[in-house]
């Protein structure tokens, strides 16, 4: 891997492991983790601080309750797929009628002119990156929208207005260089504070671009 900062794994990136090995963080590894890693050696980068040379990752099992976090060596990263690289064109034709993927196709059309990097995460991102059929008929479409600079409230409201009226439920996480938070919460502004997620935990703040 090249050493440039931009190549460092970021939250929501999907990583292919060359050795298929993840070290336990603090919780002992459940039995299903080995099975899941053998079936598909892909993990997702988590929003957790990792020791030098390691990256915090999550393993996805077949059941919804099967999510497990650990650390892996940066040297074991064989391939990185970023949300912005994942589009509905990567889906198998037989899958394009699943509501979450139909909705992604509509989102791609709606966001053509958007000047920000974005892409699917969650089950949709995982299936598009890995080819594993993990999206169900009931799956939401989870998106990450990267906003290094402040998004104006009026623009956020328009964006949420568009994205909240599509066939599948769309859940958008805005990512700043410091934290992630919900587009819906930022756009609707029901209270003066907003809940942000950082590598050190969650907190309520007034301005997610100034923390």
């Amino acid at each position: 891997m090249a050493g440039a900062i931009d190549d460092a794994p970021q939250v929501h990136d999907l990583l292919l492991l060359s050795l298929g090995r993840v070290h336990p963080a603090c919780i002992a590894e459940p039995a299903w983790v080995q099975t899941a890693m053998k079936r598909s050696p892909w993990v997702v980068v988590r929003r957790v601080n990792a020791p030098v040379g390691k990256v915090a990752v999550g393993v996805r099992g077949t059941d919804r309750s099967q999510r497990w976090g650990g650390f892996m060596d940066m040297a074991d990263v064989a391939l990185i797929k970023r949300p912005a690289q994942l589009r509905v064109s990567l889906a198998h034709d037989s899958r394009k009628s699943v509501p979450a993927l139909k909705t992604l196709a509509l989102v791609e059309r709606e966001l053509t002119d958007l000047d920000l990097s974005w892409g699917p995460v969650g089950s949709v991102g995982f299936e598009l990156a890995t080819g594993d059929r993990v999206i169900s008929e009931a799956s939401d479409l989870d998106l990450a929208l990267f906003a290094p600079q402040r998004i104006d409230h009026a623009i956020a409201r328009d964006l949420w207005g568009t994205l909240s009226s599509l066939p599948a439920k769309v859940d958008v996480r805005i990512e700043t260089p410091y934290c992630g938070f919900s587009l819906e919460e930022y756009a609707l502004r029901r209270s003066a504070k907003i809940l942000i997620r950082t590598p050190d935990g969650q907190q309520l703040v007034e301005d997610p671009w100034d923390i």
């Binding site: 939401d140 859940d171 919460e185 809940l195 935990g201 969650q202």
Partner: protein, 98 residues
């Protein structure tokens, strides 16, 4: 999907404001907190994650050991982590006590 209800009859302080905070998104929840009709507080939780009745009870037992407002709380949960549950409740209280 699971529906969970709790009552806290000792919470009798009159509340006049209403709060609506949070979102029904992955790992989060929505809280509607408003004045209860009569004496005592009532909590009603709709959650997408089954089997955590005891954890919810522990959260609200602790919450009502400090908070005495006669409120009606409605929660729509999409798998909120324990950390977000406490922050969302704190946020709702901040709004109604303003």
């Amino acid at each position: 999907m699971e529906q969970i209800e709790f009552d806290y009859p000792a919470a009798k302080r009159r509340i006049t404001k209403k709060a609506y905070v949070g979102v029904v998104g992955s790992g989060d929840m929505e809280v509607l907190m408003e004045p209860a009709g009569g004496d005592g507080a009532h909590v009603s939780i709709t959650t997408s994650v089954n089997g955590f009745q005891d954890s919810w009870k522990a959260v609200f037992d602790r919450f009502f050991s400090k908070f005495d407002g006669a409120v009606k709380i409605q929660i729509n949960d999409a798998g909120a982590t324990p950390g977000s549950v406490l922050l969302r409740l704190e946020q709702a209280v901040e709004v109604i006590e303003q």
